[in-house]
């Protein structure tokens, strides 16, 4: 079952550091408890967004890949 997401940020076609910037901006818009889905195809995006989430002390719910596209779910915990 696909987890529920409150917002999606499309970073397809964007390269470092834009996916990080966009993800941060969207996370700022979310309320605590809401979930953000990030789609990216930049090969650097997965590790970068993992690092971002760690430093922002938010929760990385899941990371999945379909071809070159990575789908990252982040829960805003605070």
């Amino acid at each position: 079952m696909k987890p529920k997401t409150d917002k999606r940020v499309d970073c397809l076609g964007l390269y470092c550091p834009e996916p990080v910037f966009k993800t941060r901006m969207e996370l700022d818009e979310l309320k605590a408890g809401e979930t953000l889905e990030v789609l990216a195809d930049d090969p650097a995006a997965e590790e970068d967004i993992r690092a971002l989430v760690k430093h922002l002390e938010q929760e990385l719910v899941s990371v999945s890949k379909e071809g070159n596209t990575v789908r990252i779910l982040i829960k805003k915990v605070k």
Partner: protein
């Protein structure tokens, strides 16, 4: 992660090395996005990048102009500081720098380096 981490970027390359100009701004902006306190210290020729009107002239490949990248950093909360002695060395008066860049002394650089969790030089 209780206390906010700090990274100090030391920029010594100037307008004559545009390929070395983007990295500190992009890294510092990314640091700010990660809730890391980011400061760029412009030293020696590095100060020419924050001289008014210079960043507008730098644009490489598919990158935006250096001015756009600098503005993005400022908006993200990156602090820009300029070495006073480097201004004297290169004969650039204090008022010639972008408004957001503060002129500071040698002791400040040493203090920033010691209080940072990491220092990166370009």
């Amino acid at each position: 992660m209780s206390a906010k981490k700090k990274i100090l970027y030391v920029q010594t390359s100037g307008v004559d090395r545009p390929e070395r100009a983007y990295a500190p701004f992009i890294l510092a902006t990314t640091a700010a996005m990660m809730n890391i306190d980011a400061t760029i210290y412009f030293l020696i020729k590095g100060i020419t990048l924050v001289k008014k009107g210079e960043a507008e002239k730098i644009k490489m490949g598919s990158f935006p102009s250096l001015k756009d990248v600098m503005n993005q950093a400022i908006k993200a909360g990156v602090k820009l500081v300029v070495c006073e002695q480097s201004c004297s060395l290169l004969g650039i008066p204090r008022g010639e720098f972008v408004q957001e860049a503060n002129i500071v002394g040698a002791a400040t650089l040493n203090d920033l380096a010691l209080s940072a969790d990491a220092v990166l030089c370009f």
